[in-house]
């Protein structure tokens, strides 16, 4: 009996071995994902550059794309009526005409925007662009629940009705095929609406594009690049669009190389690949691992740079509950925390600063910190806490459970303890951090926060300081700031059109100083992101946009 059984097993094992071999071949024939192979220099035209993204891009469909990785690519594929200048630094924050003939004509007290669509435009598949495609693209964003959809539904007349199903189209957008004019009526005057029009989600797509996520086959657009070989949420290629040059869009470059983008979720490997010139660019949205930083600085300093980005980091203090409902407690924090200590913890990816409006955005002021005029003063802060009768007050400090943010919070808690509070730390996963502390029931006292711009306008940076952002379940004003001075100032400044922002730079700066005096938040710095390229890319001419980071259209191969 045993003999028979064993024979069966052996036969089964032999059959299994054959099945195993077949399974390997069959399974491996399926769709794959990323490879870390080096970029080929023999692509069409100027060759092909390669990029490793550390985070998956998500969908590239402009009606849903809201990750940094997807929007970087969509910027080059879906040009909107307006777009951003292809330039480094503050110049890259400038809104310029894209598919429109010029900047919008603003009438009706800032409530009506009129633009003219250029004639003769075609999508990358050759289909002519229609003037009604803009309205369709906006309707599609709303139907798909694009991540920034509230910027559309709270500004454009009739958009909210379209969202709720009360209307079959957006009444506030009127398209005139005879003149190619697009008129957009707003609910009320909203200065940053130029920035809203420059979102990649406002890029034109053909009317009739399915109102579902086109993740595997993103819609065609009008832009210097088009998508090819898209593998959902993993890899894609940006290929220069034939015929795009004939549209002559001022300020929109044609691109020099095609770009092959894949995902390498291990940042260490991704950085090593660029260091060894196996891949052409590192994902700037991800910090370079500290273990490799010294090697990069010593052996590849000519192709590595950290660049300040409009991304503010701060400790928020809930002004509605103890102990930070006491202004002295907040000022004590502002006096004691050492920004340079946090900079050290960041391995150089944080630039110390004290004002909420970050560098590169109108209204930013370097230095001018209201407190800490002579550096951190723990003794002064401790005395302030003691004189306020807050010594020993329990404080829970909330933060991310990922490095280096967890280290920032640990340091912050140690400072709170050193000035007399009784602080403990509570760390959560980044995915649930906002919804946890944004729930009033959590009664969160203080913690770590950051604000990455939706668009480069000071209005955007005052959203987390606005009373309108206070909400019982999805609050983003973590300090619960409800200050009449801020409300009055922003109500006036919000109306200033993007094109006239520089005329009110001083008012924004003054408002930032006022926020500092109230110590609603303790701003400790701004993100510095990495521009790290292989030696195949001309580093000097490669643009690092303050909005979309690596500007692939500026890349040129050195060999």
């Amino acid at each position: 009996m045993g003999e028979t059984v064993n024979t069966r097993i052996m036969k089964s094992t032999r059959a299994g071995a054959l099945a195993v071999a077949a399974a390997i071949l069959l399974a491996a024939c399926g769709g794959g994902s990323s490879s870390s192979s080096a970029g080929s220099g023999s692509g069409s035209g100027g060759g092909t550059a390669t990029v490793d993204l550390v985070s998956s891009p998500g969908t590239l469909d402009p009606g849903l794309a809201y990750t940094a990785q997807s929007q970087d690519a969509d910027w080059l594929v879906y040009t909107g009526l307006l777009t951003y200048a292809h330039a480094n630094g503050t110049a890259g924050s400038q809104v310029i005409p894209g598919l429109a003939t010029g900047m919008p004509v603003i009438t009706n007290g800032g409530k009506t925007y009129t633009l003219t669509l250029r004639s003769g435009l075609k999508y990358s598949n050759g289909k002519p662009v229609q003037v009604g495609d803009f309205a369709y693209a906006i309707e599609r964003d709303i139907k798909l629940n694009w991540g920034g959809v509230s910027f559309l539904t709270t500004t454009i007349a009739g958009a909210a009705d379209y969202q709720s199903g009360k209307a079959s189209s957006i009444s506030g957008i009127v398209s005139d095929p005879s003149t190619n004019q697009i008129t957009i009526n707003l609910i009320s005057d909203y200065g940053p609406f130029d920035n809203v029009l420059a979102f990649t989600a406002a890029g034109l797509v053909p009317t009739g594009t399915p109102m579902t996520d086109q993740i595997s086959n993103p819609p065609v657009g009008v832009g210097p690049y088009m998508f090819e070989n898209v593998v959902s949420n993993s890899s894609f290629e940006l290929v220069r669009t034939p015929g795009f040059a004939s549209f002559h869009l001022p300020g929109v470059p044609l691109g020099h190389v095609d770009v092959s983008v894949s995902t390498e979720s291990n940042p260490l490997i991704a950085a090593e690949n660029v260091l060894q010139n196996k891949v052409d660019a590192f994902d700037p949205s991800s910090p370079i691992p500290a273990t490799l930083l010294s090697s990069i600085k010593s052996t590849a300093s000519s192709r590595f740079e950290t660049i300040p980005t409009p991304w503010t980091f701060y400790f928020w203090m809930n002004t509605t509950i103890a102990p930070f409902d006491n202004k002295n407690a907040r000022i004590a924090v502002s006096e004691a925390v050492d920004r340079t200590a946090l900079e050290r913890l960041s391995s150089g990816f944080l630039s110390p600063g004290c004002n909420f409006i970050p560098p590169g955005v109108v209204g930013h002021q370097d230095g001018n910190c209201v407190n800490q005029t002579n550096g951190p003063d723990v003794a002064k802060a401790k005395a302030l806490v003691a004189s306020s009768g807050l010594t020993g007050a329990p404080v829970t400090v909330w933060g991310f459970n990922t490095s280096p943010r967890s280290a920032y919070v640990q340091y912050y808690a140690s400072v709170l303890n050193s000035i007399g509070f009784n602080a403990s730390v509570k760390l959560t996963a980044p995915a649930i951090y906002g919804s946890t502390i944004g729930d009033a029931a959590t009664k969160a006292q203080t913690g770590d926060g950051d604000w990455l711009q939706d668009f480069p306008n000071p209005v955007d940076f005052y959203i987390p300081l606005s009373a309108a952002s206070i909400n019982p379940t999805h609050n983003i004003n973590y300090s619960y700031v409800d200050d009449p001075v801020i409300e009055k100032a922003t109500a006036a400044l919000d109306q200033v059109p993007t094109s006239q922002l520089t005329t009110v730079a001083q008012q924004w700066a003054s408002l930032d100083t006022y926020v500092n005096t109230q110590a609603y938040e303790f701003v400790y710095g701004y993100a510095q992101l990495s521009k790290f390229l292989s030696n195949r890319i001309d580093f000097a001419t490669a643009i690092f946009s303050p909005i979309y980071l690596n500007d692939y259209s500026s890349w040129q191969l050195t060999s």
């Binding site: 097993i9 195993v20 969908t59 694009w146 291990n266």
Partner: protein, 316 residues
């Protein structure tokens, strides 16, 4: 036997149902934030939030949400909360890499374990046996992510013998596929080889004391024939059972660390990313998919055992 198989299949369905219910409930109980907030985006207006809640059915009772999710899973329309991406599509995309990893590694660990286990059992207490024992202990003890990280650093980054992670489909390049898979295969196999070789060694030693082996010796059969045809066949039964479970575990996304470390973009890596985002739909699908494979292979192994060992049938 038919009744036995039927019972196993029914119990498998019960296990799948219970696992799906418990997984769903666990992610309702633990603080995982409101998925509606994540979908609606930062600073969503109340109207947008309400639209998301209604569209996704988050205002429905739990049992309705569970039923809705199961329906979406079985109709293939389930999408992730983060990114709104079709989960089954992602799973299908990751399966080739995971199957490649599991099949290749399991062949290596099974072959390696048999060779080492047999050699150790031939030299019980000798230097080779002791050395193999130490190596087995080390390979079991060292975490797979340490082995992987060290191998990647030295063999891929420093010496550049192997590619620095990534996956190439065999349809794109056979040698590229092989080149990218060798290091993950070896790293994943090391621990299993250590464990399996020790189990096999013990099993061989135990089997050699059985009456039928003594009889074979008395009949004058050669040592080689006794080992291969009598001892090894019997000793392999626990190894095959173990292999079934481990293989199913790896196929079911169990090689999370190796896949993530080597950026294979397989099911395990997708699971790791989804867990990091506390994204329930992919986690549900991957857990159910992993459970399915474990149940399937366990059942297959049990049925094999039932054929091989009549007492198994009688006990059920």
């Amino acid at each position: 036997m038919a009744r036995y198989i039927a019972r196993r299949l029914v119990s498998s369905l019960v296990v799948l149902f219970l696992v799906s219910v418990f997984t769903f409930l666990i992610f309702q109980v633990i603080p995982n934030g409101s998925p509606a907030l994540r979908i609606a985006g930062r600073g969503a207006s109340p109207a947008t939030l309400a639209a998301v809640v209604k569209e996704w059915g988050f205002n429905q009772p739990l049992y309705v949400q569970y039923a809705d999710m199961m329906e979406k899973i079985f109709t293939g329309s389930v999408v992730s909360y983060s990114g709104n991406i079709n989960v089954l599509g992602q799973l299908r995309a990751g399966l080739p890499a995971t199957v490649s990893l599991a099949v290749g590694a399991s062949v290596i660990w099974l072959s390696g374990a048999i060779v080492i286990g047999v050699i150790s059992s031939r030299r019980i207490g000798g230097t080779v046996d002791r050395l193999m024992g130490v190596l087995a202990s080390v390979s079991i003890s060292v975490p797979v992510y340490v082995i992987g990280a060290v191998a990647l650093y030295f063999l891929a980054y420093k010496v550049s013998i192997f590619p620095n992670g990534g996956y190439v489909p065999i349809s794109q390049s056979f040698f590229g596929w092989l080149d990218h898979m060798i290091l993950p295969w070896l790293c994943l196999s090391v621990g299993f080889i250590g464990l399996y070789s020790r189990v096999l060694r013990s099993s061989i030693i135990e089997t050699e004391g059985e009456d039928f082996v003594r009889t074979a010796k008395a009949k004058g059969l050669t040592k080689r024939r006794i080992l291969v045809h009598h001892v090894l066949r019997t000793s392999m039964i626990p190894i095959i059972s173990l292999w079934g479970l481990d293989f199913a575990g790896v196929i079911g996304g169990g090689a999370i660390l190796i896949e993530t470390l080597f950026n294979l973009q397989g099911v395990g890596q997708y699971a790791a990313e989804s867990i990091g985002l506390l994204d329930i739909p992919p986690i549900m699908v991957i857990v159910m998919y992993g459970t399915f494979f474990v149940v399937l292979l366990t059942t297959a192994v049990d049925i094999l055992h039932a054929f091989a060992e009549p007492r198994v049938r009688l006990q059920v």
